[in-house]
């Protein structure tokens, strides 16, 4: 989905709030949230693709205003309710207030049947797919052309894995794009390498 989470290349943001030796956690509850969603994954209640997608499904105003760990918390609670482990009523009764959850999911999709195999040096284009569910193609590479630099082992296909849809595992290809291709006349000169699932790619001949 072309959601609020898909931030790469968005303009208007200010300086990175950087500090030396920056911390990961700031409040004790943050570690508990991280632990609780890890426990839910370990117990097989949901997988990491479902977890990421439930964050992406947060209402956009909530997504932008929430801290990183509030997003984790919202995903954890949403999936526990959707999977029937808990009810929203129970959560709100226990929390003594409203408990914002993510917006329901749109359908997922399986992978493409005829997938091409690429090797380093091949020129590829990212297909112009528009997907209502989970997808790991950042919007800034849609329709763009780059060069394959390496291949990964096969992974579960996220567009399916986040939705309980059956799909074969497939590799990702690290594809190198120039920023001039991605944002003509509007970016610092550099290469951006993106891990792109095989189903998202087509050969440029």
């Amino acid at each position: 989905m072309d959601g609020m989470h898909d931030l790469g290349g968005r303009q208007g943001f200010g300086r990175v709030r950087y500090s030396l030796r920056a911390q990961t956690f700031h409040e004790p509850w943050e570690k508990r949230v991280n632990a609780l969603y890890s426990l839910a994954v370990k117990l097989g209640i949901f997988n990491m693709d479902e977890y990421r997608h439930a964050i992406e499904r947060m209402e956009p105003r909530h997504y932008l205003s929430a801290s990183y760990y509030e997003r984790s918390l919202t995903s954890l609670a949403t999936l526990c309710v959707e999977k029937g482990i808990l009810t929203r009523e129970e959560l709100e009764r226990r929390a003594q207030g409203s408990f914002p959850l993510s917006i329901p999911s749109a359908p997922g999709r399986s992978n493409v049947a005829a997938r091409e195999h690429f090797k380093p040096g091949d020129r590829v284009r990212v297909k112009t797919d528009y997907v209502p569910g989970h997808v790991r193609m950042p919007g800034y590479i849609r329709g763009k052309t780059g060069v394959v630099v390496s291949e990964s082992p096969a992974y579960p296909f996220p567009d399916a894995h986040a939705h309980g849809v059956k799909a074969a595992d497939e590799p990702t290809f690290d594809v190198r794009f120039s920023t001039e291709e991605l944002w003509p006349n509007s970016a610092d000169p550099a290469f951006v390498n993106v891990g792109v699932f095989q189903s998202y790619l087509e050969r440029v001949t």
Binding site: G8, G9, T24, S152, D188
Partner: protein, 198 residues
């Protein structure tokens, strides 16, 4: 009586919401308290940047290890007793040189090789870094204190799948003859993310 059922309640605080889930897990026999303690140990003692620092120091002093690390990072780090979660099936080690600079990010969420380079710092997961570093890498790095010459090639790596990346920094020139332990102490998490050079 007017219907009050659609009146918005006050949103519970994040702590109240976490407590609610933890208590519900507790009641269902999922033993969240024990797991929180286990996780605390992992986060504070196991997933630390000193792991990656050892990997870097070994790569600087052992050319054969460096070759193995660049060929298959996930397998090579096991030689140092390190490991990655099962779903991180691949570790790509990105070697900086005097003319090439690598920097990693995750624009869609905040993925990192956390068992090797440590859990990501707050700014890595924040909106600004995710939005800007792919498009304005040189500007963002300069703002963060790393001013790269125009002739240096910049390669940004966006962690959009479960392949993980780490940067192998350039060994500082003044460290000839240093031991691995002493070298490892130089290596920071930021240098393995690629927002600093050593």
């Amino acid at each position: 009586m007017p219907d009050q059922s659609h009146v918005q309640q006050t949103t519970a605080s994040v702590e109240q919401r976490v407590d609610a889930i933890q208590a519900a897990f507790e009641e269902r026999g999922m033993k969240p308290g024990e797991f929180v303690e286990e996780f605390r140990h992992l986060a504070e003692e196991e997933w630390v940047p000193e792991n990656g620092a050892r990997v870097v120091a070994k790569a600087w002093t052992d050319p054969a290890f460096r070759e193995r690390l660049l060929a298959n990072g996930r397998e090579a780090v096991t030689e140092l007793g390190l490991s990655m979660p099962a779903h991180h099936r691949h570790l790509v080690v990105l070697e900086n040189t005097p003319t090439v600079h690598n920097v990693i990010c995750c624009t869609l969420c905040s993925c990192t090789a956390f068992s090797i380079i440590g859990l990501p710092p707050d700014w890595y997961k924040d909106l600004e870094y995710r939005a800007r570093v792919v498009r304005q890498s040189r500007t963002v790095l300069k703002e963060m204190g790393l001013d790269l010459p125009a002739e240096m090639e910049v390669r940004v790596w966006d962690t959009t799948a479960d392949t993980r990346y780490m940067v192998l920094p350039v060994r500082p020139a003044e460290t000839a003859g240093w031991s691995e332990d002493k070298l490892a102490k130089l290596v920071t998490k930021d240098s393995m993310i690629g927002v600093a050079r050593l």
